[in-house]
Symmetry: C2
Subunit: 516 residues, 2 copies
Amino acid sequence: MTKVLNSAEQFSDQAVDGLVSVYSRYLEKTYGGVISTRQTRPGKVAVVIGGGSGHYPAFAGWVGPGLADGAVVGNIFASPSTQQIYAVAKAAEDGAGVLFSYGNYAGDVLNFSLAEEQLREEGIAARSLPVTDDVSSASLADRTKRRGVAGDLVVFKIAGAAAESGLDLDGVSAVAERANAATFSFGVAFAGCTLPGADAPLFTVPEGQMGVGLGVHGEPGVDEVPLEPAADLARRLVDRLLQERPGGSSGRVAALLNGLGGTKYEELFVLWNDVRQLLAAAGLEVVQPEVGELITSLDMAGVSLTLTWLDDELAEFWAAAADTPAFRRGPGMEAKQVHRSMSEAEQQEVAEASDTSQALAAQLVDCLSDVASLLHDKERELGDLDAIAGDGDHGRGMTKGCDAALAAARSVVDAGAGLSSTLAAAGNAWSDKAGGTSGALWGNGLRQAATALADHSRPTAQQGLAAVQAGLELVSTFGKATRGDKTLLDALIPFTESLEESLNSGESWASAWSSA
Amino acid sequence: MTKVLNSAEQFSDQAVDGLVSVYSRYLEKTYGGVISTRQTRPGKVAVVIGGGSGHYPAFAGWVGPGLADGAVVGNIFASPSTQQIYAVAKAAEDGAGVLFSYGNYAGDVLNFSLAEEQLREEGIAARSLPVTDDVSSASLADRTKRRGVAGDLVVFKIAGAAAESGLDLDGVSAVAERANAATFSFGVAFAGCTLPGADAPLFTVPEGQMGVGLGVHGEPGVDEVPLEPAADLARRLVDRLLQERPGGSSGRVAALLNGLGGTKYEELFVLWNDVRQLLAAAGLEVVQPEVGELITSLDMAGVSLTLTWLDDELAEFWAAAADTPAFRRGPGMEAKQVHRSMSEAEQQEVAEASDTSQALAAQLVDCLSDVASLLHDKERELGDLDAIAGDGDHGRGMTKGCDAALAAARSVVDAGAGLSSTLAAAGNAWSDKAGGTSGALWGNGLRQAATALADHSRPTAQQGLAAVQAGLELVSTFGKATRGDKTLLDALIPFTESLEESLNSGESWASAWSSA
């Protein structure tokens, strides 16, 4: 039960402040998360990890030499926004590109992919590797649908060591992919966790039972069985993982026995004592096991076992030195301190713009203001609609996103921004503050539309159309939906088509827009 | 709730096995606990810590260069036996003496003091420092009655650094005493912990409340108040500790914010973020804060804040390098591996003995066998008596102790031991296996009696009397009771006096013994 907090809204942010103040020799806060304060070798690929918070030491506890260069910190159990991810990557990246790695959850995949896209548009090489180690969440044939759980750590650690060793982005990506393909986790849950500010657990496990394969955020498991002695539990975990032993694997494995937060150290050591004997009996050599609280879910009770089947190169990277607040291997790795953090304001430098474009930007603010008023009027209605199929927060998310977009647009217009920059700022703010999939899609759609416009000229009708189409393209690509799926595309696609048709038939922008 | 175990009896032992197998580069198991595998500087004072288990990383997680040379591991929340403590010290000690340090609880004080005594009898210099940091458990005037809680870590760390720096036993003891005098902790509890094998918590805190100053094993606190925001809790903790700021203290403090097991990292970081601001506002400079799970109580929810008021020397020792499984500071401290562990059997080498003494030893075995039968017959009766004033386990403890003494005596007699060695072995086994205060007193009383006897001659009547008196002396000194306190002394003292009187008046040993 989460008992220590000031408010649920400030929880993640205040936790980062506390963390950074304790580990200031390793970490500094940057807009969106934390980055390493240690100077890295010039030309080193940046490894940026992240996800929701509530999983400490994942992810911010693993920033430092030999592991990650930065960690993006979302709210409790929620993906960070595209803007947060982009911002941490920009602060951490040093000319050799960025490898993003994170657990395979829909929100994280969406936002990390969008941030990757945004970096590429700026000419920064970026790759993404979602970790897919949880054997309970999909069959081996459906490997890409598996969730990422404690295996995150092995993949991140190996990627971090590969980057430290001097491999380029292609090389680091390839090693990380091989590590992920070789990593398998299986776990059980004894009790759910309580979110900050909530007074009941997020999910429960019946008394005397355990949830086999239950996800760390309460995602469905594969079975519910009575509690059993540690030796039987050890056999259950080991047997399941040995089922997926890859053909041709060497007998060497990395092993993690992870406690989810409410299962304590002595219990983990008792279980490990049985696990290690079973692994030895199976003829396996364990390289540098880790037993402890590695990826927690607040105070959830449960354990998971992770095995990574090592080849020589993976074994070398797994055993290599690392020096972070919560994971250390080998001697301490001292390095010069550097400061690369950026505030939210520094992220939003305003480009020069022509008077015409500034005037159009001011009109955009008025337009956003109208939309915001409309959304406030309709907030309850949207929420009620969402409650039928979702969690009822769609109205709130849309309103928060639009309010943030309006505020950001006003702020950059006051600083002299043109149309493209203002639309980009509005989009960034929308995706950053709205939360959820629709927030990420709306905000990034607006930001993408901005790329078809300029800060120095009045856009032609065709440029306007290109902007709308660019936004639509992004929403449909990353939303993975098409017309008829009852998403916002059902409105946007006909709108865009009508706009295109009218413009092509010679109508003016204003007339084409209103008839569409 | 403790869910992962094979059996409550084996829990602590299996946890140590698991721990040692994960951290074999730091630790090896020895009879009674764990010791460091790193070679130490010749002439270094050994620092041996310990207590009950269930508090990981306390105590076995803190063994390594710069901290402790060994940790004694008792059962869950129970003092280790005198024999365990003695055995770990013997394995860890390297010619320059031993400093014992541990939390100030009656059972630990008794057993560590008895082990200290036993080492001294062998000519090994030994000192004890019980840590007394918990401000809730007694007033400052009654400082020696305060419990030891998370402040243990600061005192152990400073003592370990002092030993590493080359100070002799007097010097290390003096530094550790100064560290303890400067250390103050204050905590709150949100929920109790569940012992392995139990199906309900050891203690509970009412819903929506917190126990202020509640002990980590459920010992009474000072107040019960409603839950409050982190900022208010931070103020409560800081204000209480500042009340005891020593006169003339510098503005530098070591600070620990400890989670008891069920209060998670992000919560601790949120709280630290408030605590650090209050400490700064009070003009204090925090030297190397530690925020995390340092001394847990299984899955108990709660936090404590510890401040140690540092002078230059304490600050230097607090900041010095250390390299252990769960506490690391500065660069890794590599050192040659050595093996000094001893099995239970190696602890019991049998000295040569005369035929006469061997025959007497065999009679002692018969006598112990009679006592064991009697105790088995009376086990329930003793338990019922104890249930009136205690926890009803006295009958069980006495029976276990006597059975263990009988088995140990038989084993050494089979190996040719004489009377003194057999009595010592019986006493050691009794105190090791009986548990509780009476077990420690009976067992150590027998061991002490053995010192007045020999393995090569039939004892004179006066030697027999000296043996009985030596045992009595030990029991009364460490039991801190006198005649009339309704303890076993009420029977032993008149018995001894009568024995002495009869012998002095010329009676034979047999006649004096039976009339007594």
